[in-house]
Symmetry: C2
Subunit: 225 residues, 2 copies
DNA sequence: GTGGCAGGGAATGTATCCATTCGCAAGGTC
DNA sequence: GACCTTGCGAATGGATACATTCCCTGCCAC
């Protein structure tokens, strides 16, 4: 056992899970572009495994909305057009307020404090890649106490599927919109502190909706190379 | 080639897909109870295949919400408690009106006529198993023109996950509630004919909500055996 | 030049065999 | 008697090898 095993993240002994976790990070981090095909052999070599666990990993990621596999045609990162991203955002507008409402009564004060700290980091930050991580953390923390595994995983799927376009949008729009996002986050955080589900739902829906409308004004994000 | 190959459903040459399709039917049809474990060997023998395509099929069904696989612990049909089914219905209340709204402008008159025919069969029918099929057909036909593959598959997942409890509820509550369901379906159908998305959303949400409330009054459906 | 067709290489799908893990039950200890 | 431990059988995870499908390329006919 290595001396610093305490700080090492525990690596899953099940290869398919380990590979899925690594690919998940890579896809969410933008290492693979939408539409990019992933070959079983290549991924298998990369992880020193056979193709069997790689196939399992592909299926796992498929169920998370991060890949799409089709019989005899291989696996690729989904490439969405404007309409599909638009639809994902409309799904988010309807589902995530519910997730928040379910989470709200079970959120601990410590978790709300954690959201506050994340928001402070967002306000002090001006790096796009870091914003994406922090923004995700902010919202996921607000959902973390949702007792429904199903609702939570559905929410994560929606975030996963739109992650790449969120990044592309941020890179394009730049940090100009930061002040609006911060205002929205502050309103949301305040409603959560007050345990006001109705306000929280309203602010969250508005936050997602505004992002959707902003995205729509940049159709060039969806031009196929 | 068999003489009646035209009427035969095309069987998928890919074993994993074929097995997944058969298991999907079996689970939705109630052949496996929630919580029941499915062994790779048993399923493999049943379909005359090795365990590899069975594992693929399990993963496929997992992504459809029909099974849950956990590493080294096998695969089973998800068993939900009252809260989780309740949550699924609340998700349905929010998502399915959107699916309908997206589908509505693209629905052909022929599809609406088809819904009418299905509704007539529902009204002339008094068998629970057949009702479940027809009811699903009725709603799925209303969603069929939804251009978003993602929204459609999310909707199907929600239906899949709650199918068993819908059946259990119908067997318990009997056909007493038929008249209310018929009234709701008629209102929904009328709104669809008028291409009135707002009314259609309202009636659909109410339809799902009423079913959820009715389900909640039968907590005995969720007693573990 | 355009369309279709055949062939070959590459990638995916599957079977068999082996490795690993899990669960349970029998036995032992305090 | 309760609790831990040990070991065995069964089930899952993974590697290798083979079968099948797909796709692209080049050739041919028109």
């Amino acid at each position: 056992m290595s001396a610093d095993s305490v700080t090492d993240p525990v690596v899953d002994p099940v290869s398919s899970q380990r590979i899925a976790a690594a690919l998940r990070e890579a896809i969410l981090g933008g290492e693979f572009a939408p539409g990019e095909r992933l070959l079983q052999d290549v991924i298998a070599d990369r992880f020193g495994a056979s193709r069997i666990p790689v196939r399992e990993a592909f299926r796992i990621l498929d169920s998370e909305g991060l890949m799409e596999v089709s019989p005899n045609k291989g696996a690729r990162v989904p490439a969405l057009d404007l309409y599909e991203v638009h639809t994902y955002y409309r799904m988010r507008e309807r589902l995530e307020p519910l997730t928040l409402t379910e989470s709200l009564p079970h959120l601990t004060d410590a978790q709300i404090d954690e959201m506050e700290r994340i928001q402070e980091q967002i306000e002090a930050n001006d790096d796009v890649a870091r914003f994406l991580v922090l923004d995700r953390d902010f919202h996921m923390t607000s959902y973390a106490a949702c007792p429904s595994e199903q609702l939570l995983s559905a929410t994560v799927r929606l975030w996963n599927s739109t992650q790449h376009y969120r990044r592309a949008f941020m890179l394009l729009a730049g940090p100009d919109r930061a002040s609006i996002v911060n205002a929205e986050h502050r309103l949301l955080l305040d409603a959560i502190r007050r345990r006001d589900a109705e306000d929280a739902e309203r602010f969250l829906e508005g936050h997602i909706r505004r992002t959707r409308v902003a995205l729509q004004s940049h159709p060039e994000l969806f031009d196929r190379p």
